[in-house]
Amino acid sequence: MTASLLAWILPVFAGAGIHAAFVRELRGPGAVAAMLGYGYFIGLFLAAFLTCLLAGTQTSAAFARVAPCLAVIGAVAWSAAWYLRSRHVEISAARLSNAARVVIAVAVALVVLRLWTLAAEAALRPVFPWDAWSAWSVKPKTWYLLDRFVAYVDPAAWLAAPAADLRTSAVWDYPELLAWIEVWFASAAGAWNEPRIHLAWSGALAALGLASYGQWRGIGIGAALAAVLAWAMLSLPLIDAHAALAGYADLWMAAVFGLAVLAWLRWIRRGGAGQLLLAAGFALCLPMIKLEGAVWLLILSMVGVLGSIRANLRWRLVLGAILLVTIAISLGGFVFPMLGLGWVDVQWGEIVVPALGVLDLGWRPVGAAMLTGLFTLPNWHLLWYLLPVVLVWRWRRFAEDPASARIGTALLACCVFLFVLFFFTDAAAWAENHTSANRLVLHLVPAIFSLLAVLLAQPSSAAVAPLRDQPKADVDPG
C-alpha cells in the first residue's frame, strides 16, 4: 500500500519540481495548481521512461529501481526551482467578491464530488472497455507478468521466427508510453491489479483540471471564470466516462494536447522560455501516446512556426505550400515522413498511411451522425451549443489577441483534419456507428476550453501584452 501511494507521490514530486524549475514561478495566481497538474504528467512520463530504461529486464522491480531516481530528480529539480525562482511576481491585494467566492466554492465542490465518484468507480472495476484490454493493456500485462520486456512485431514476423522471443497482436505498433505507466503502477502494487493501475486515469483528469485552472489564472483570467470553466470541462460526460472506465488513451491525448496548447498560450501571452519548452515537450509526447498524436503534433508545429513569422511572409508561405502540394498531387503525388506514422503517401483521391492503411478519399454523408454525437447524445452537455455562440460573439478577439488567433487557427486546422477524416475517408464508419468520432473530438476539448477561456475573459492589456514587454508583471487578481 505504501508503495502504491509512493507511486503517486514521487512522480508528482519530481514532475512538479521540474515544472517549477522550468517556469521559475513558485507563487502567483494558479501557480501551485499548474505545478501539480503539469507535475503529474511530467512525473509519470518520466517514471515511464525510467521504467523502460532501468527495469526492462525485470519489470517487477520497476518501482524499486525507479522510485529512488524520481526522489533524487525531484530533490534536484526543487533545488533548481528554488534557486531559479522569479522574484518579480507581484500579487495584487485586490479581494474576491462574495459572489465570486460562492461560485468558486460551488465549482470546487462539484469537481471534488465528480472526481470522487469517478475514482470510486475506477478503484473497484477490472479493466472494462474493449480496446483497454484488447489493445492498450496487452503489452504492459505481458511485460509485467513475464517480468521482462519483449518486443511486439507484426504477425508475419512473429510467425516467421518461431524461436525468437517476440510477441504479436493486432495493435503491435501502438505507442508504448502508457504501457510503461501501467507497468510502473503494477510494479508498485506488486501485482497486475487492474483497479490500482487504472486509477491513474482519474489522476489524469484531476491533473488536467488543476493544470488548466492554474494556467488560465496565470494568463490573467479571473478565479471565478477559471473555476467555472475547470468544472465545466471536468463535468463533460464523455471525459468522465474515460476516467471511470479507464484504459483508453484518449483522455491522456486530450490532456497532453490541452496542456501543450495551454503552455503555448501562456508563452504567447506572457513569454518565458520555460512555457515554450513545456509546450514543445508535451507536443512531442503526443505521438508517444497514440498514433493520431502525430497529426496533432504536425498541426501544432505548423501553426506555431507560422505564427512566429511576419504576417506577409506567413501568407506567402501558406500559399506557396498549397501551390506545391497541388502541383505535387497533379504530378502523381508525394510522400512525407510523419513521426509515429511512417512515410505518408499522398495521391489524388488516396492517402496511404503505413500505420493506418489506405484511405480512399471521397464524400461520405455522415453529417447527421456527427451532429447526433455532438448535439443530442448526452456526451458533451451544452459545449457544442455554446461554442459557436461565443465564437460569433467574441470574433473580434481573434484580431486583437494573438493568443486567441493562434489557438483558434490550430483548432480550426484540427477540425478541418477531423472533417476530412470523417467526411472523406472510410473513417466515416466511426462517425456512423458512434465509435471513434467522439473520442477524436475529445482530444481537442481541453484546448477548446482554453480558447473559450481567452475569448470569454474580459480583455485587458495585461492579459494580452507579453510579460517581456512590460516593466512590471501585472497579475489579474481575479
Binding site: L118, W133, A156, W158, L159, A163, A244, L377, P378, N379
Partner: protein, 394 residues
C-alpha cells in the same frame, strides 16, 4: 410588468418544449380513455420461478441463460390504439436489465423484444408508438429480466423482485409526459459503447433528448430577455452566462445521478473484495475460468511457444488472449489473415466454443473454417481443445 411577461413567456416556452419532447397530441385526453390493466399475479412464469404474493408476482429464481420471463395471453389488443405501456416492479435489482416481449396475431411464431428503461420505484411508462413492430393485434405480452450484458456475470447471485402491475393504455397527456419522465430519469448501465457515446443504445426507442430541450429553454430565456426585458451589452452577457450555467448544471446533476446509480451497481459487484476476487466477478468470469483451466497445460511450455486462439466470437477470442497473458498468445484468424495459414510445427492452437471446428484423433487432424492441420491433442475440456501443430502437409 416586463418581468411578469418574461416569466409568463418562459413558462409557456418550457411547457411548449416539454410538449414537443413528449410528442404531445393536443387532441388526447388528460388520462387514458381506456386501459387494459393487469396485476402481476395474472402473468405466468415462462422461464425461472415465480410465486404469487400480496404485492404481485414475486420472481424468485432465473431460468435458462440466467433469464426470467413472465407473460400473459391477451385477446388481441389493438396495438395502435394502446401505445402506452405502464409497468411497476419493486426491488428490481440494479444488476438486471428489463425487456418487454410481445407476440402479434399476424406472426405467432415470432417473439418481439423491446429494451425498456430500468424500472425505478413507482410506475414507469413507455411510449410503444415509436416501436415499428408495435402494430396489429397483440396476443401475448410479458417481461424478460436478465443480468446486464457486458457488465454482470450470469453467475452473479440472484436477488428476488416483484412484478406488481402492467397496463396498456390509449394516448393521453398523462401517459406522454410520464413516458418522457421515465425516459429522462431512466438509468442506463455502462456498456462497451460508453467510451464512445453515452446514453441508451442509439437503436433503442427513446424520447427527444434532454440536452436538446435544455438548450432550447436556455435559448428561449435569452431571446425573451432580449425582447421583453431589453437585455443588452453586459447585462445580456451576464444573463446569458447565468442561463447557460444553470442549464449546464441541470444536465450535470442529471449525469451525476446516473454516475451515482452506476457506482452502486459497481459496488454491488466488486466492493469488499481484493483484486483476484474482483477479477472473478467480471462479466466474462466463465472465460476466465476456461483460461485458468488451460493455463496448467501451457505451464509446461516454453514462453516462446506460439499459441493461437480461435473461438466463435471475436470477444471470446480476445478475452481469452487477454486472460492467457503472459503466454505468447495471439488470435488465430488475425495471424492467418495478416501472415499465413502455414503454422510452424510446435505451434499450439486453442479452439474454444466453435462448433464447426474439430479434432480428429484417428487421423490426427485439426479441422475448421476451411483449414486442416496435422496435430496432436495436448489437453481439452468440455468446449475447448488445446492441440499442437505437427510436421506434415496442411
Amino acid at each position: 410588468m416586463r418581468r411578469t411577461a418574461w416569466a409568463v413567456a418562459m413558462l409557456a416556452s418550457v411547457l411548449g418544449v416539454l410538449a414537443w419532447a413528449a410528442g404531445l397530441d393536443p387532441r388526447a385526453p388528460f388520462a387514458p380513455a381506456q386501459e387494459h390493466a393487469f396485476n402481476g399475479t395474472q402473468l405466468q412464469p415462462r422461464m425461472g420461478q415465480a410465486v404469487a404474493s400480496a404485492e404481485g408476482l414475486r420472481i424468485e429464481a432465473v431460468g435458462e441463460g440466467a433469464t426470467a420471463l413472465q407473460s400473459i395471453a391477451l385477446d388481441g389488443i389493438d396495438a395502435a390504439a394502446h401505445p402506452f405501456l405502464r409497468y411497476r416492479f419493486s426491488a428490481f435489482p440494479q444488476t438486471f436489465e428489463l425487456s418487454l416481449i410481445f407476440r402479434r396475431a399476424d406472426s405467432l411464431d415470432e417473439v418481439r423484444v423491446v429494451s425498456l428503461p430500468w424500472p425505478d420505484a413507482g410506475d414507469s411508462w413507455f411510449d410503444l408508438s415509436v416501436v415499428p413492430e408495435w402494430k396489429g393485434r397483440i396476443v401475448e405480452l410479458g417481461f424478460a429480466q436478465f443480468p446486464t450484458p457486458q457488465v454482470v456475470a450470469p453467475t452473479q447471485p440472484f436477488e428476488p423482485f416483484t412484478l406488481e402491475a402492467v397496463a396498456l393504455g390509449t394516448p393521453s397527456w398523462k401517459g406522454e409526459f410520464a413516458a418522457l419522465s421515465t425516459d429522462w430519469r431512466g438509468h442506463w448501465p455502462w456498456s462497451q459503447r460508453s467510451v464512445h457515446a453515452l446514453g441508451r443504445d442509439t437503436d433503442t426507442p427513446r424520447a427527444r433528448p434532454l440536452v436538446v430541450c435544455v438548450a432550447l429553454v436556455c435559448a428561449f430565456a435569452i431571446v425573451w430577455g432580449i425582447v421583453l426585458l431589453r437585455w443588452r451589452g453586459p447585462r445580456l452577457a451576464t444573463a446569458a452566462a447565468i442561463a447557460v450555467a444553470a442549464g449546464w448544471l441541470l444536465l450535470d446533476l442529471h449525469w451525476q445521478a446516473g454516475l451515482a446509480w452506476r457506482g452502486q451497481t459497481t459496488r454491488a459487484l466488486y466492493a469488499g473484495m481484493d483484486w483476484p476476487a474482483q477479477e472473478t466477478r467480471a462479466a466474462d468470469a466463465d472465460l476466465l475460468a476456461v483460461a485458468n483451466r488451460i493455463k496448467p497445460a501451457l505451464a509446461r511450455e516454453s514462453d516462446r511457444t506460439r499459441i493461437l486462439v480461435h473461438s466463435g466470437s471475436s470477444y471470446e477470442q480476445l478475452r481469452l488472449v487477454y486472460h492467457l497473458l503472459p503466454h505468447n498468445v495471439a488470435v488465430l484468424p488475425q495471424v492467418i489473415e495478416q501472415a499465413s495459414p502455414e503454422l510452424p510445427a510446435g505451434t499450439l492452437v486453442i479452439v474454444y466454443a466453435s462448433e464447426d471446428w474439430s479434432f480428429d484423433a484417428a487421423s490426427g487432424r485439426l479441422r475448421g473454417g476451411g483449414l486442416d492441420w496435422p496435430a496432436t491433442r495436448v489437453a481439452g475440456g468440455g468446449n475447448w481443445i488445446l492441440a499442437r501443430i505437427a510436421e506434415g502437409r496442411r
